[in-house]
């Protein structure tokens, strides 16, 4: 138990100074980034699960990349202090760039294509409008930060594919 607490404290402190072993190797999967964020916030798996509104087993399943969470969970963990852009895209948003966005028609069309591709259930049917809308907003915010060239959108697309495990 003592070792666990010590590790957690080290994780928080060292990751902020970019010398953590886990931080040195960029977490490739969503589960690894989720674990990384939880360690950064200094929360146990059970505590983080409670803030995300899920059971501890589900939290563990998310962290082991067996299943991906829904948008409600992501919103809740964002409220708990997790960096959503980092969790989903693997890159942290600089502060003060989250208010208004200007996107070209071509970029919006590309975002629409990505939403249409990813917002589907197991059988290929579109998710409810509410879920698609939130995903659209998330993508708009991400594209604004990353740039809207085709290459950037393609890298965003491949990261999302990795995130969803498809």
């Amino acid at each position: 138990m003592v070792i666990d607490v010590q590790n957690k404290q080290d994780g928080v402190q060292i990751s902020e100074h970019h010398s953590d072993r886990r931080a040195a190797v960029k977490p490739r999967t969503f589960g690894q980034r989720l674990r990384h964020e939880r360690d950064r916030l200094g929360l146990s798996q059970a505590d983080f699960a409670e803030r995300g509104g899920v059971r501890r087993t589900t939290q563990h399943i998310y962290e082991s990349d067996t299943r991906v969470p829904d948008l409600n969970y992501l919103e809740r963990v964002q409220e708990a202090g997790a960096d959503l852009a980092y969790l989903v895209l693997g890159e942290r948003l600089p502060p003060g760039r989250q208010d208004t966005i200007t996107l070209s028609y071509a970029t919006l069309s590309n975002i629409y294509r990505v939403v249409d591709e990813f917002c589907r259930d197991d059988d290929g049917h579109p998710l409810p409008l509410d879920s698609r809308l939130r995903f659209f907003q998330l993508l708009c915010a991400s594209v604004k930060d990353r740039g809207s060239s085709d290459a950037e959108l393609e890298s965003l697309r491949s990261e999302l594919a990795r995130f969803t495990g498809t």
Binding site: Q45, R56, T66, T166
Partner: protein
Amino acid sequence: MRTNNLSQRGLHVVSQSMSTVVEIRDRFWSGVWWTEWRRRRQEALMAKVLEDAGEDSMAARTVTERHRWLERGVKYWRPSPPLVIAALEASERAGIPRRDLRLLALNRDLRQVGDDVKVRRAWWAPVLAYSALILILCHWALLSALVVFSPAMWVAKVIGVAAISFFYWFLWPGFGLYSTQAYAAVKRSGTAVEQAARAASPPKAPVVPLQAHRM
């Protein structure tokens, strides 16, 4: 105008309900509910292991890997070896319909042969598939004929034939999943799945005999 809208909505509701019923029917015959039940049990075990041994313990890793295997099994209707699962996921990324992949996994037509993943193309698959189809059709026709030529009232005959047809409508997909549909999936997507599997297979390192180093 309003009647048109109402009838369109009605048709939409009926088609939605029908697709749900068909989906439930396929899930029943595929036996994926059994894998789902095993996954739920594994989750209960995982909760206990996490509580007792912690998330970084070896016991938790073992349980997690087993759960992952079952989770993929639910996705593709039957648990498969890791190399086969990787091939299925690569095929899905390549745009092959999930239903075909499920049929391949369910019938174990996608197999690991050495370090490669191959699709089984057995000569007896079409024979078995069409024999099953003919057998079921003959049986349905025989029972329907018995009802039609019975001395009952015509209403009873219609109800009887409808009930028999409904029974076979439910029964046939059970056979179809393992016969005609499986054969069609191999024919339709077999080559593409093998190509996707080949493209996604991890690079192989050459095996150097230990003796060569000693000399």
